[in-house]
């Protein structure tokens, strides 16, 4: 157990290092000079001395690998640099904004799992029933329709036609609607994966034994199929986690939520590359934490899995 955990930690660390190095070298090789951007952003006099002093302060004259190590050292101890645009520390911005983005992604995924289990179960219990057809249409439909457009249509229907919510008003609905949209997208795939595994159970001999013992189909399916199907459900959640964090970007823009993706977009118009680097790192950490959590949960469900 301990060896597995330390091995997983080591692999996660190597992944993070590789991603950070790649992002750093690509961003550092951009033609635009951060000193000139800062001088313009802060209205400093563009004299030789200022430029030279700033280059020295930021260590821009050093070779690239040394700069990467400097950056890495600062990043690990929490010095993520300052935003050109606001002048505030980038870490503080992320600490303030991250809960908003995480709430969206996490609540959406949890809601999708909570709904996918009863829906998938009903679909497996009654093949070709209402739940089966509905989840099938849902899983095909959501792949074709971008969630931010669905959000716009929802705003139009709920806000303009029925006047239930106020579009772009930054009230409770600008949280509830994006969470529902994320859940809706993942629900289609999750419920189908869960259903497929339950159907697989019904073809097993031990399921027939359970039926012959006198269990009803519903009881037998729940007692003997749910655990195995949860395992595949979690595997599907793993791939949905990346989607959830990506789609929160469009939904944050649409609903005007001050999450990390909105910060990135605002920073990019000011060519604030330190923010981009920090953003990539935050997303990579989120993905690695999600992967580790799901792997751990899967191992609890099925100790045979390696």
């Amino acid at each position: 157990m301990l060896r597995q955990v330390s091995g997983a930690l080591a692999r996660a660390g190597i992944s993070l290092l590789a991603i950070s190095a790649l992002a750093f070298f690509i961003i550092a090789s951009m033609p635009s000079d951060p000193v000139m951007i800062a001088i313009r952003a802060w209205n400093l006099p563009a004299t030789e001395e200022t430029i030279a002093a700033m280059r020295l302060e930021w260590g821009l004259d050093l070779p690239l690998p040394v700069r990467y190590l400097h950056w890495l050292g600062d990043f690990v101890v929490g010095d993520w640099g300052r935003s050109f645009r606001t002048g505030d520390p980038i870490l503080a911005e992320f600490v303030w904004r991250l809960p908003i983005s995480l709430t969206l992604g996490f609540c959406g995924l949890v809601l999708a799992i909570v709904l996918a289990i009863p829906l998938g179960f009903a679909a497996a219990l009654h093949p070709r029933g209402i739940a089966d057809r509905a989840t099938r249409i849902l899983s095909i439909g959501v792949q074709a329709v971008p969630s931010f457009w669905l959000g716009l249509v929802l705003l139009w229907v709920l806000g303009v036609q029925f006047k239930l919510i106020r579009p772009f008003a930054n009230d409770w609905s600008s949280f509830a609607v994006p969470i529902a949209l994320i859940a809706f997208h993942s629900l289609g795939i999750l419920s189908r994966v869960y259903r497929r595994d339950l159907i697989g159970t019904t073809e097993q001999p031990h399921y027939r034994t359970a039926l012959s013992k006198g269990l009803s189909r519903r009881q037998a399916l729940w007692r003997h199929g749910h655990r195995a199907a949860s395992y595949s459900l979690l595997a599907a959640v793993r791939s949905e986690a990346g989607w959830a964090i990506g789609s929160t970007a469009t939904l944050e823009i649409l609903f005007g939520l001050p999450g990390i993706s909105q910060f990135l977009v605002q920073s990019m118009s000011a060519r604030d590359y330190f923010v981009l680097q920090a953003y990539v790192m935050v997303i990579a950490v989120w993905m690695i934490v999600m992967n580790a959590t799901i792997t751990f949960a899967q191992r609890r469900l099925d100790p045979r899995a390696r």
Partner: protein, 270 residues
């Protein structure tokens, strides 16, 4: 030709034709014809600046087609080559390629594309390049597992036992089996890249917002939701139609069964 394939071909012809000819200049501002209703002169009406909506959709369709093609070519060639090479070479080179491919799956495709677009600006080609490069990881893993499985098939082993050399074995027996499967995977991924490009241009990232991309049109027209909802309906319908056609053509719609003949990688893994 199956109906899905015929419709998809027609849609693609329409997208390409839309890049060559539009009834109006998609950027021509006509303040006397703002928010004109649908008519014979303007089939879908005009927008807030009097630009013809149908022309803008057609120009956006051409840009979307460029993205689909460049993503497909880059991911298909790059991932296919790497994955097949990994399976044929074996040993530490195989392990190295697979580890590298797995590492790049960690960061979601859209985030990679977002990063590249933030650095190089958002054009159909930069987005296609970014989405294609981000797709190399999963394509390589898919190509690898398909190739491994094909190498284990009896007719391939028989050919190997007869002394067919590696290169010829690959071109004669392995690639004809794996390439159609990788291609159909590429088709099912094309719908995702349409949505991803729309998302990128919706987010914008400081790109020129007046460029007629379907996503940036949705961003621009979202504020007219109260008075002119038609403006934001049509670009969405265009995205959904193209994506649905691509998915219908290449994807059975179900997540593939584990151990099924086609692949071991589920389409939802990406």
């Amino acid at each position: 030709m199956k109906p899905a394939a015929a419709l998809l071909t027609a849609a693609f012809a329409l997208l390409i034709a839309g890049g060559v000819w539009q009834p109006y200049d998609p950027d021509a501002i006509d303040m006397t014809a703002r928010h004109a209703p649908a008519s014979f002169a303007h089939l879908l009406g005009t927008d807030n600046l009097g630009r013809d909506l149908a022309s803008r959709l057609m120009a956006g369709g051409w840009r979307t087609a460029l993205v689909i093609l460049s993503v497909g070519v880059i991911a298909f060639v790059g991932g296919g080559t790497l994955g097949t090479a990994a399976a044929m070479l074996g040993g530490w080179r195989e392990a190295l390629i697979l580890r590298a491919a797995e590492m790049f799956i960690v960061v979601p495709t859209l985030i990679v594309a977002l990063t590249v677009a933030a650095l190089f600006g958002l054009t159909p080609l930069s987005a296609g390049l970014a989405l294609g490069l981000a797709g190399i990881g999963p394509y390589a893993l898919l190509a690898h597992s398909l190739t491994r499985r094909t190498l284990g098939l009896q007719f391939v082993q028989a050919a190997e036992a007869l002394g067919v050399e590696r290169l010829r074995l690959m071109t004669r027996h392995v690639l004809p089996t794996t390439l159609p499967l990788i291609f159909s995977y590429a088709g099912s991924q094309a719908g995702l890249s349409v949505v991803a490009y729309a998302s990128l241009s919706f987010i914008g990232l400081g790109a020129d917002p007046s460029v007629p991309d379907w996503g940036s049109m949705l961003y621009e027209y979202r504020i007219f939701i109260f008075d002119h909802p038609g403006l934001m309906i049509w670009p969405g319908v265009a995205i959904a139609t193209i994506t649905a056609l691509l998915n219908w053509n290449f994807d059975p719609g179900e997540p593939l069964r584990p151990g099924s003949k086609r692949t071991t990688v589920r389409l939802s893994d990406v």
